[in-house]
Amino acid sequence: MANLLLIEDDPAVAESIIFVLENNNHQATHVSNLEQATHSIHQDNHFDAAIVDVWLSGEDGLSLFQRNEDGSEKTNLPLIVISGGGPGRTLEAVTARADACGAVTVLYKPFSDEDLLGAIAKAIE
């Protein structure tokens, strides 16, 4: 069982992901923007991993996980990136950025429950 932070702006997508997580005995906290995400990370340091949507209504979800200019990490939470694509967010572009942020894996919506659970297992190893 893992304690997960879900950053996703689309309520329906978030609800379905939480459904999968809870059915598989994980615990999830859902936030829909960067401000709430930052707040949650600072409040509760017991997250095992974060599941982050790339595009958050104009905000860049990955900016929270980018390394600082001195190379230090903003947060050392293991990262699972989810993306629905979009203008300028091709498979290659998102994968490259996710790699740069040290993401465990990138999942493209729609993804299977197994893919998500597998990614979590990998993240909390």
Partner: protein
């Protein structure tokens, strides 16, 4: 009887003596008179010489060798020879500053004339200083053995002015033939009276085969009907024609472009007797323009493709977000058909499908701009109607302040599409100014000076700009970069679909136009639409007018 005879003889002799005396006396008188006459004549001649001395005629007498025996004052002054230095006994042909070679040639010629004892008449070039010379009309006439009269008249002015005219003519000729111009002078019936050499060269004919002929009589010179009409129009109306764009598609001038100027010239009575035409070659410029146009077309095409790509990517994002939950719930239901909250999950699936349907419905409009026919739309009239409507609907708010041209301005667009573009931009401005701030609508024509800020050559000048500016909340750089993306919205609570500006941009791109934005967060926003201006149907207008006049004339 004898005495009578003697007396008679005596009387007769006396009479004869008297008569002889009378005759002798009268003869003497006559001689005296004649001598007086001769004297008078000599004085007249001397007077005449003094007059000549003060005129532009100089005379001298020379011997067989060309040595001066006598010189008139005028001769000395005209030839710039001083009176003080005695010129007598000097060879006349050595007295100026001409080269030794020329002096030798003069001497040789003099000898020939003297030997043949014939008169000589010609022009004498007389050098009087560095780069200064005179031209004399000279006459050499035999008077008596070893005596030759030498008369000179100053023709410098006439010869210099004629020489200048010839130089001028040569220069004009040179310029005319070396400018990228073809100049012709034609009779009103078309016959060529003058053509520049380059015209003949390009036709591959000597000028002599062109002069006197009409254009139709020169096989290699194929002019379009339009050129003929323009020429006829200028002749009939007497009005000059300036810079008509001409394309020649056949004959020696095949595939060339020209600016054609026609100026009818009138005689002293006011009738048109000649027509001056000047043709400026524009082929290179037109080619360059065509290449630029092709490049601009390609850019616009790329923009359309890019817009389509963005649209597809945006659509993919939306669809993936909608169908992801469907997959999740469907799998859960497959795994456990009797799952708790079964109804809820089925409802979620159904909602997602409805949302996808709605999305597809909304996005159907996105493909419209590519198929909707375009027309000449008066953007000014359209904007006036729309402003009236919007101001009516938004009573209680400040009306939109507009700066519109007084006359109609036409663009190629679909009328409903253009309405949607304007409505969309104004609605956005209304939303941005809910907390206050004015909205301005400006429509104008931009010439070369003002280019669209991005890809300035993508839109051929001139073009029309439509600017909607608000003093509302504005937006930061990030938002500006994404604002034309499909499904991007800053409007909270599902107020916006994120399709509006993407739709606007696609529409504008489909009319070969552009849209751009200038804004700062908290400091308003300005959207500018650039559309190519319809080239004035000026030439058509001219042709219609011409047709009318020709018809009247024929009538």
């Amino acid at each position: 009887m004898l005495n009578v005879s003697f007396l008679l003889a005596f009387i007769l002799a006396t009479l004869l003596g008297l008569a002889l005396f009378a005759i002798g006396f009268s003869l003497g008188l006559m001689m005296k008179w004649l001598r007086a006459q001769e004297l008078a004549k000599t004085e007249t001649v001397l007077d005449l010489f003094s007059v000549i001395d003060h005129s532009n005629v100089g005379y001298a007498i020379a011997d067989d060798e060309g040595r001066l025996i006598y010189t008139s004052n005028s001769f000395l002054s005209m030839a710039c020879l001083s009176k003080e230095n005695n010129m007598l006994n000097k060879h006349w042909f050595r007295l100026d500053l001409a080269s030794d070679g020329l002096k030798a040639r003069r001497q040789a010629e003099w000898k020939q004339v003297v030997r043949a004892r014939k008169n000589w008449h010609g022009i004498l070039r007389w050098k009087i200083g560095p780069r200064r010379r005179k031209f004399f009309e000279a006459t050499l006439k035999y008077m008596a053995p070893n005596r030759w009269a030498f008369i000179i008249q100053d023709r410098s002015l006439q010869i210099e002015s004629r020489r200048q005219m010839a130089n001028q003519e040569a220069l004009t000729h040179f310029l005319l033939n070396n400018l990228p111009l073809i100049v012709t002078l034609q009779h009103p019936d078309g016959r060529f009276l003058f053509v520049t050499e380059n015209f003949a060269e390009r036709l591959g004919l000597p000028i002599s085969e062109i002069l006197g002929k009409r254009p139709a009589e020169i096989p290699t010179f194929v002019v379009t009907e339009r050129v003929q009409q323009l020429f006829a129009h200028a002749v009939i109306s007497g009005q000059p024609l300036n810079a008509a764009a001409i394309e020649i598609t056949e004959g020696a001038f095949k595939d060339t472009h020209w600016l054609y100027y026609i100026t009818p010239l009138v005689d002293s009575e006011g009738y048109i007797d000649r027509v001056l035409t000047v043709s400026v070659e524009m082929t290179d410029k037109v080619r360059l323009q065509q290449e630029r146009q092709a490049f601009a077309d390609k850019l616009i095409e790329l923009q359309k493709i890019e817009a389509m790509n963005r649209f597809a990517a945006g659509l993919a994002h939306e669809v993936s977000n909608i169908i992801h939950p469907v997959g999740v719930y469907a799998r859960a239901l497959v795994e456990n058909p009797d799952i708790e909250k079964r109804q809820t999950y089925l409802r979620q699936i159904n909602q997602a499908i409805l949302a996808a349907g709605e999305l597809l419905h909304k996005t159907k409009d996105m493909t419209k701009p590519y198929s909707e026919p375009v027309d000449n739309v008066d953007i000014v009239a359209l904007a006036r109607d729309l402003l009236e409507l919007i101001n009516d609907l938004n009573r209680g708010r400040d009306p939109i302040r507009s700066t519109l041209p007084e006359k109609s301005v036409f663009v190629r667009a679909s009328k409903t599409g253009l309405r949607q573009v304007l409505l969309n931009l104004i609605n956005n401005a209304l939303d941005a100014t809910e907390q206050g701030g004015a909205i301005y609508l400006e429509i104008g024509e931009a010439e070369e000076a003002e280019s669209p800020p991005d890809e300035p050559f993508a839109i051929p000048c001139p073009y029309i700009f439509i600017r909607v500016r608000d003093e509302g909340i504005g937006m930061d750089q990030d938002v500006q970069e994404q604002i034309f993306d499909t499904f991007f919205t800053t409007k909270k609570d599902n107020m916006g679909t994120g399709l509006g500006l993407a739709f606007v941009r696609n529409l504008i791109a489909s009319w070969d136009g552009q849209i751009n934005i200038k804004s700062e967060l908290g400091d308003g926003a300005s959207f500018t639409v650039w559309l190519p201006k319809i080239s004035k149907a000026l030439e058509n207008g001219v042709m219609e007018e011409l047709d009318g006049k020709l018809a009247v004339n024929r009538g």
